[in-house]
């Protein structure tokens, strides 16, 4: 993965902004600005899909933003038994943090409190170093930290289940053994891709955002970490109050149209919702954004979806720039 994908950051895409509308929905000539993060995939398996999902929901809870949660996490997809290391139903989750150290800390806490505790579960690293398209980073401790819960009864085992010798820990618990991989591969990933959906009212905005999230969730390697994949409290950097590093994005608040000097909304906009996307590579984030734009535009202006925009910081903070016009190129051909 390159730090600056040419197809998405090509300045020519916006140097001469041309009006772009798909199905009546205007696409702003702007870009989403994203940042490097450290990420991993964990595969949680359990006796039934239900219990795997319980553990995954618990592990990815309170993980909407690194600002207050330590990490951003979400469920990537469910896994059939033939796609998991132990042949049981599973769930793949992705976790993103700002540093390897913080990611390791969050993995230890969340797996320890949410997966180790959940009946019948086991957990495995889900990044295959041999096939990962994202650059590899450090290995994060998994069982090597949790093993101490075994109080001396834990057992390590090296097994080759098809991906080379792997070290597992077997920790005695009251329903048998909690099995987990010794450590998990992590990668250099991308966080903070985003779309702003500007709609006539809340019904229209929710419908567009839900359709976009549904489309994005069909893609691998990405998560939308906010509740339901959608966030209403988009933020800007800084605040008039000392000590607050972020505050409401007044430029997109419909009640501040007449008050904020920076408002970007017209009078017809009654509701704005944002979708934040974290992905293992910039290509994954870009693909998800394209899918989201496509789904929202499918509803179009007739359904109240007026504009699609994106959040950035002037392009000076994050190395990944996802230009909406480049991402939406070609999407309108099918609707012509």
């Amino acid at each position: 993965m390159s730090d600056a994908p040419a197809n998405l950051t090509d300045a020519s895409a916006t140097s001469a902004p041309a009006a772009l509308a798909i199905n009546g929905t205007a696409i702003d000539a702007t870009f989403a600005e994203a940042f490097p993060m450290k990420a991993t995939r964990l595969v949680i398996t359990a006796h039934t899909p239900t219990w795997a999902m319980h553990a995954a929901n618990s592990l990815t809870g309170f993980a909407t933003s690194v600002i207050g949660c330590g990490c951003e996490a979400g469920i990537e997809r469910t896994l059939a038994p033939d796609a998991t290391p132990d042949g049981r139903p599973g769930v793949a989750v992705l976790l993103f943090a700002v540093s390897s150290k913080e990611l390791a800390k969050q993995i230890g806490r969340r797996v320890g409190q949410c997966v180790l505790t959940c009946p019948s579960t086991a957990v495995f690293g889900g990044i295959d170093p041999a096939t990962s398209r994202a650059p590899l980073s450090d290995r994060a401790p998994l069982g090597s930290g949790l093993r101490f819960f075994g109080d001396g009864w834990q057992i390590a085992k090296m097994l080759d289940t098809g991906n080379g010798p792997t070290r597992y820990w077997r920790i005695p618990v009251m329903d048998g053994e909690f099995v987990c991989e010794d450590s998990a591969a992590t990668v250099k990933a991308v966080g903070g891709g985003n779309l702003l959906l500007l709609a006539r009212d809340q019904d229209a905005a929710l419908a567009a955002a839900e359709a976009a999230v549904t489309a994005m969730r069909r893609l691998p390697n990405v998560i939308m970490p906010f509740p339901g994949g959608i966030v209403r409290s988009g933020s800007k950097v800084g605040s008039r109050y000392a000590g607050a590093s972020a505050s409401t994005n007044d430029a997109f608040c419909p009640t501040l149209i007449g008050l904020s000097a920076h408002s970007e909304l017209g009078a017809e906009v009654g509701c704005v919702l944002e979708i934040v996307i974290d992905g293992l590579t910039d290509a994954d984030v870009g693909a998800a954004m394209t899918a989201g734009i496509d789904a929202a535009c499918e509803l179009g202006r007739a359904a109240g979806v007026l504009r699609i925009s994106a959040g950035n910081y002037g392009g000076k903070l994050g190395p990944y720039h996802f230009h909406l016009h480049a991402l939406a190129a070609g999407l309108d051909r099918g609707r012509a």
Binding site: T45, P85, D86, I155, M158, L159, T161, G176
Partner: protein, 295 residues
């Protein structure tokens, strides 16, 4: 990759140390250079050219039907084109230390071999079509060693006085193994398709040992950790220092069964749904070892 073949032409008349015959080393030498390699044997020595006819084939590695039938291994050596290959044709028990400290390539021995085959080997693949002597895979650290016949004592064990036996890799004996199988073994996988002699898996530190046939007395003696897999309940009673291992190890068993899927029968035929009977011990020492009886 090239295949070098050493075909026996004259018996040396004494035991020969064959540790110098490593596939990767010989692949980088010319036929003439190989013929002048000196092989020691006690107080005597001989040159390779005096004992073997040396042949070199740059393109087509030799394969036996057994090789072609074998599935590709995770380390890639199932594909004979992936590594330099050395074939020793007509080997016998007078050839000691074959594949000793080998770290790459494929060494195929057509015939039997002597003692210390695969001693401290750390990589590559060593396959012996016949029987081997004592200390096969002794202190082995990695790679894959397969003996299609029987093997002597101290397979995967430690040298006398050393603290650790085998510490990595996969060792398969399709026939029977002698006494002290996997003595002091610490890591890796040992599978025996036939019987094992007395003191199998004795003083096992960790790792996995599987025996398809019968066990001699005193198996698992002093076993600290690790797993002893048995395809059937042994005739000799379980050691008194082992206790009921309970239930609830389904996930580990499914991982273990999956790791054995490409190995020899009956281990490759075990299924995750059919849990073995588990015993834990040896309580005289650490007590975290286990005997799993799958039969």
């Amino acid at each position: 990759m090239s295949t070098t073949t050493l075909r026996l032409k004259t018996l040396p008349g004494f035991r020969v140390d064959a540790a110098a015959l490593r596939p990767a080393t010989l692949a980088s030498l010319s036929v003439a250079e190989i013929e002048h390699i000196v092989l020691a044997g006690g107080n005597e020595s001989c040159e390779v050219g005096e004992v073997f006819e040396v042949l070199r084939d740059e393109d087509a590695p030799a394969q036996s039907p057994a090789e072609t039938a074998r599935p590709a291994t995770p380390d890639g050596y199932g594909n004979s084109n992936a590594a330099p290959t050395l074939v020793i044709d007509g080997a016998a028990r007078w050839l000691d230390r074959l594949g000793a400290e080998m770290d790459d390539g494929r060494l195929v021995v057509r015939g039997s071999a002597g003692d210390y085959c695969g001693f401290r080997m750390s990589g590559g693949e060593l396959r012996i079509d016949g029987d081997t002597g004592h200390f096969t895979g002794c202190e082995m650290r990695g790679g894959r060693l397969t003996v299609n016949g029987d093997s002597g004592d101290f397979v995967a064990g430690a040298l006398t006085g050393d603290m650790e036996g085998m510490s990595g890799g996969t060792l398969t004996i399709r026939g029977n193994a002698g006494a002290r199988l996997a003595d002091r073994m610490r890591r890796g996988l040992v599978l025996v398709g036939g019987n094992a002699g007395e003191f199998a898996a004795s003083r096992l530190v960790a790792g996995t040992v599987g025996v398809a046939g019968e066990l001699g007395p005193h198996y698992a003696y002093g076993m600290r950790r690790g797993t002893l897999l048995l395809a059937r309940r042994p005739a000799h009673r379980l050691p008194p220092t082992f206790t009921n291992g309970g239930q609830g190890f389904d996930v580990f068993w499914s991982l273990l069964v999956r790791s054995l899927a490409n190995e020899i029968a009956p281990f490759s035929q075990w299924r995750a749904q059919r849990l073995p009977v588990r015993y834990t011990g040896d309580l005289a020492v650490d007590g975290r070892g286990e005997i799993l009886i799958a039969g």
